[in-house]
Amino acid sequence: MTPPILAEGLTHRFGEGPHARRVLDGLDLTVAAGTFVLVTGPSGSGKTTLLTILGGLRTPTAGRVEILGVPVGTARRAEIARLRRRIGFVFQRHNLLRPLTVVENVEAGLHAADADGNGSGGNGGIRARALAMLEAVGLAAHAHAMPDSLSGGEQQRVAVARALVRRPALVIADEPTASLDHAAGRMVVDRMKSLSAQIGCSVVMTTHDDRLYAFADRRIHLEDGRIVPLSTHPGAQT
């Protein structure tokens, strides 16, 4: 079975010619299904660039990368768009649609997936799945509230629900706890980990918070665009 993420010699540069800057430098990476992976590293180490490539949002300049079986370096735009509908995204900012209720925001995650006939089960099915996902992230009581009435942590949990309600094969999370206090951040990652385990999807998440390392099945540490073996990285324990 093809792993959700398979990268060989993954390289990415910004710019051309002598001014080109190599951000990722020949990464070899395989992520098995259902794995919760944390990507750590200092600012400028290439974490975000890696995530954007793994999310099908950017094409690598060199190397072979397959996401959910799709070769992102050579795939057509329509294939990439279809691929993205099989991926859940959680960002540092929740970016919930403020005019919609909490449950409608979660449903927004299903409407796009519905385009590929993922069987959301019609409007009734969509609502039921969204409510079930809100229950799973502990926000069922706020289903019909407006996002502005929720705390930052609760809003981020809605964003997690929106990402996972479509039962993606892969979740890409970019510093989802960066703007939250530690307790709220732990709650968000905890829900993300347990739900992804239930669904059986892989999660690749970047973080600067070493207190979240315990949630990871695997940690990848980047420095200067290269994976640094954890044994050589001080304080790395996963």
């Binding site: 975000t48 768009a81 900012r93 649609l97 005019p99 796009a112 519905d114 970019d174």
Partner: protein, 393 residues
């Protein structure tokens, strides 16, 4: 993709940003009213310019080679050309019409008003208005004339005086007369003023000579009636060939179009109304674009997430089009009603015929749709630049 989702999001966006939406609604309403008034005034201009030619009892019209429009005193041609035209096979008769633009003075208050004097031989009338036909014998009397009772300003009071007392007098300012000659207004008819001239008087050709000294062999427009079954276009061509450059001939429809086109393209008035119509479209578009831009700009991050989630450009196009359509739907009927009110006010003030025909409503609605589509296109292009990569900080 659920078809209901764009509807839901569009509705909520409008409600959530009600201030922006109301601003757009007000702005677009004003723009639509502006479009209606431009169309209404433009049509009134054309209608008023076509009042005399449309009421001429002819199939072909002969004019000077230098003729531009009937509005002011047009260049004359020799009456002998009408005799030549009458010799063309298919011509039943060719009658002379004289047009003279001048000013009259009202004796009771000394006010001056512009006037178009239409003159013809009462034995060979050129206008087919029953009221004028009934009063033809009276036009044979010296200085006798008929007044258009729909004329503007003080003419209305003169028409009232004619109605109550049977006649009224006005004085003609004629460059050829030492003393202003008196015109006896002995009756009225209904036609309506033009954009530029306040009123109209109909009299005999002999009276025009008496009043203004215009020689009777100088003709403004030759009104040619064709034998039954004659093609007026072919007849006009034959007459023009016969006149060999000394006069032009138009079939009736071509003559009306020539008069309309004079205002539409050769005078600034028609051009200004058309520009005003374009300005209305642009103003409305600016308001819709502004509203859409405000809604899009406020949600760039949220839309970027939707792009990342795999929402297609068609979704965003549908969203923007629905918001634009809602703005149009919310404004068109109120704007139409306001425009009707403006038409009534303007018609009372100017005596012009300002009416909203179904075709005008359809035309303005088409322009509003075009405006909304252009605005939506601009907003969709803006949305096309939404990049999920911007979400990675």
């Amino acid at each position: 993709m659920s078809a209901a989702f764009p509807f839901l999001l569009a509705r909520r966006q409008l409600r959530f940003r009600i201030g922006t939406a109301l601003g757009a609604l007000a702005g677009v309403t004003v723009a639509i009213v502006l479009m209606f008034t431009q169309v209404g005034f433009r049509n009134a201009l054309y209608d008023s310019a076509l009042q005399i030619p449309a009421n001429l009892d002819g199939d072909v019209f002969v004019v000077s080679p230098y003729y531009a429009s009937m509005t002011f005193t047009p260049p004359w041609f020799a009456r002998t050309l009408l005799h030549e035209a009458e010799a063309v096979p298919g011509v039943r008769d060719a009658r002379a019409m004289h047009l003279f633009t001048a000013q009259v003075r009202l004796p009771e208050n000394g006010r001056h008003l512009s006037v178009t004097i239409v003159a013809f031989d009462p034995a060979r009338p050129v206008l087919r208005l029953p009221e004028i036909e009934a009063a033809l014998p009276a036009l044979g009397l010296p200085r006798a004339a008929l007044l258009d009772r729909l004329s503007r300003h003080d003419y209305r009071r003169v028409a009232e005086a004619i109605r109550h007392e049977g006649s009224a007098e006005v004085l003609l300012h004629a460059p050829t007369a030492t003393l202003a000659p008196v015109i006896d207004l002995v009756g009225t008819f209904a036609m309506g003023p033009s954009f530029t001239i306040d009123g109209m008087i109909v009299t005999s050709d002999l009276n025009l000579y008496r009043l203004a000294g215009i020689p009777l062999d100088r003709v403004s427009v030759g009104v040619v009636r064709a034998e039954p079954g004659t093609d007026p276009v072919a007849l006009a061509r034959m007459i023009e060939e016969r006149l060999a450059g000394r006069g032009r001939a138009f079939a009736r429809a071509d003559f009306l179009e020539h008069e309309r086109a004079y205002y539409a393209t050769r005078t600034p008035i028609g051009v200004i109304f058309n520009i005003g119509l374009g300005v209305g479209v642009i103003v409305g578009m600016v308001f819709v674009v502004q509203a859409l831009h405000a809604m899009v700009s406020a949600n760039v991050g949220e839309y970027a997430v939707l792009v990342a989630l795999g929402y297609r450009p068609a979704f965003f196009a549908a969203l923007v089009l629905l918001i634009a359509a809602a703005i149009v739907a919310g404004t068109f009927l109120p704007a139409t009603l306001i425009a009707l009110g403006v038409f009534n006010l303007a018609a009372d003030a100017t005596s012009l015929r300002l009416e909203m025909e179904p075709a005008d409503v359809a035309a303005v609605f088409g322009l509003v749709l075009l405006m909304a589509a252009l605005a939506a296109f601009v907003a969709v292009r803006r949305l096309g630049r939404v990049d999920p990569l911007s979400l990675f900080e």
